[in-house]
């Protein structure tokens, strides 16, 4: 006879609480730096020194953001990085999809060999191609233009994007393509009107991944660009950091300005990240 009204599985409950605590602590570890940036960006210099970094801000100084935007010349850098997001990212994903379609859906000689070649591209660090790239860009006369970034970025992004697109295309049932072929559709039509719309979740995922990577990319831009006309956001932030070495409130305002668009993009595109659109398109 047991005398208790406690739920039955105390062990399981303890496990659940422990798991929650561990995950909560981990979340804190990731969120605290972000919190420090956000709090510091709205404080005055005096308040930061008096209260320390972790204190909640007493009054909000939004002027930090206005000053950071003006002094940091973020307008130019946002324009450049924004153009990359609008031109480079879709272009790269489209090219990757074009390459992935035959690799996933057509039988031809060396299909697998070509795919392995692309996979090898995943393992090659960008450092190896930096010096040749600088020479090439210089000889092409593209130095300090946005084109000097668009071409290398597209090339560097391709292996991973081809890999993901090929994997996704393989999940699309062959029956759909056969049906379209019987109706007389050309391969390009099939690619544009069947494969691409069905892989919207993959395309959106790749867009987010590549947009964040492009927005954050530092090394290639640092090596290829040294004029404001083509500087991207990370380079701008680096210059800004140099100017405000000890003015942390201003600097954190700049940092927040820079990361805000990526957070917004992520929240906006999250709804498209639902995989498996083609599931159920064909009766097995």
């Amino acid at each position: 006879m047991s005398t208790t009204s406690v739920p039955i599985a105390p062990k399981r409950r303890i496990k659940g609480v422990g798991l929650f605590l561990i995950l909560f602590l981990m979340a804190l570890v990731f969120l605290i730096p972000f919190g420090i940036v956000a709090f510091t960006s709205v404080k005055s210099q005096g308040e930061l020194i008096m209260g320390g970094v972790l204190a909640l801000p007493k009054q909000f100084r939004w002027s930090n953001f206005v000053r950071a935007w003006e002094i940091g010349k973020f307008g130019i850098y946002f324009k450049n990085s924004g153009l990359l997001l609008l031109i480079k990212v879709p272009l790269g994903i489209f090219l990757a999809a074009l390459a992935a379609y035959p690799l996933a859906k057509m039988k031809f000689r060396f299909n697998n060999a070509i795919f392995i070649l692309f996979l090898l591209g995943l393992t090659i660090p960008v450092h190896v191609i930096l010096i040749p790239m600088v020479i090439m860009v210089k000889n092409l006369g593209l130095t300090n233009t946005l084109w000097s970034l668009i071409f290398p970025y597209v090339a560097i992004g391709l292996p991973f994007q081809i890999f993901v697109m090929r994997g996704f295309f393989r999940l699309i049932p062959d029956e759909l393509l056969e049906a379209a072929r019987i109706d007389g559709a050309s391969e390009l039509w099939i690619f544009l009107r069947i494969m691409l719309p069905l892989s919207l979740p993959a395309l959106a995922t790749l867009y987010i991944i590549d947009a964040v990577a492009t927005w954050n990319e530092l090394l290639v831009a640092l090596v290829l660009v040294n004029a404001d006309a083509a500087r991207t956001v990370p380079l701008g932030l680096l210059r800004f950091q140099g100017q405000f070495a000890s003015n942390y409130t201003q600097m954190m305002a700049g940092v927040l300005i820079v990361i805000a668009p990526m957070i917004a993009l992520y929240i906006f595109l999250q709804q498209y990240l639902i995989a498996g659109l083609s599931a159920g398109a064909v009766k097995e």
Binding site: M1, S2, T3, P7, N112, T123, P125, H127, L219, L222
Partner: protein, 139 residues
């Protein structure tokens, strides 16, 4: 509130169930956990206490290889963090291959030395990636 009740444990074939029943016959709490069973031949039912180590864990092997490989390659490519935070300093103690390559190739104008470092990074990445490529290119 204190209620007298009876705790029943049903050790079944496919699951273990536990319920608490009051003296009035009301079920106040229930819990259920399924067990993995195998049927090696008609009439036989087996449960393996070490199923996790011998089934679940080995089937994660390829996933572990892929994740591990990517993590190793990524950490050999580290650049931005070191460059923006410490510049490889104080002295050279936080220098990594990526930043050392950059400083030599583009700041000290020793392009050949920088290129050599870059190739070392590339070779390490490629060797680490061999099992990864083999798994990935399998159909």
């Amino acid at each position: 509130m204190k209620v007298d009740c009876l705790v029943v444990i049903d050790e079944g074939t496919t699951s273990t169930r536990v319920s608490a029943i009051t003296s009035q016959g009301d079920v106040v709490a229930e819990s259920r956990r399924s067990l993995d069973v195998s049927y090696p031949r008609p009439g036989w039912v087996e449960q393996d206490a070490q199923a996790f180590w011998y089934v679940t864990f080995p089937s994660l092997r390829e996933t572990h290889i892929i994740v591990g490989t990517l993590a190793v390659i990524q950490s050999f490519k580290v650049f931005d963090m070191v460059y923006t935070m410490t510049w490889g300093g104080p002295g050279q103690i936080t220098q990594v291959l990526g930043t050392w390559m950059y400083f030599n190739g583009f700041q000290y104008y020793r392009a050949g030395y920088g290129a050599a470092i870059a190739w070392i990074i590339a070779l390490i990445s490629m060797v680490v990636a061999i099992p990864y490529i083999r798994i990935m290119s399998r159909d």
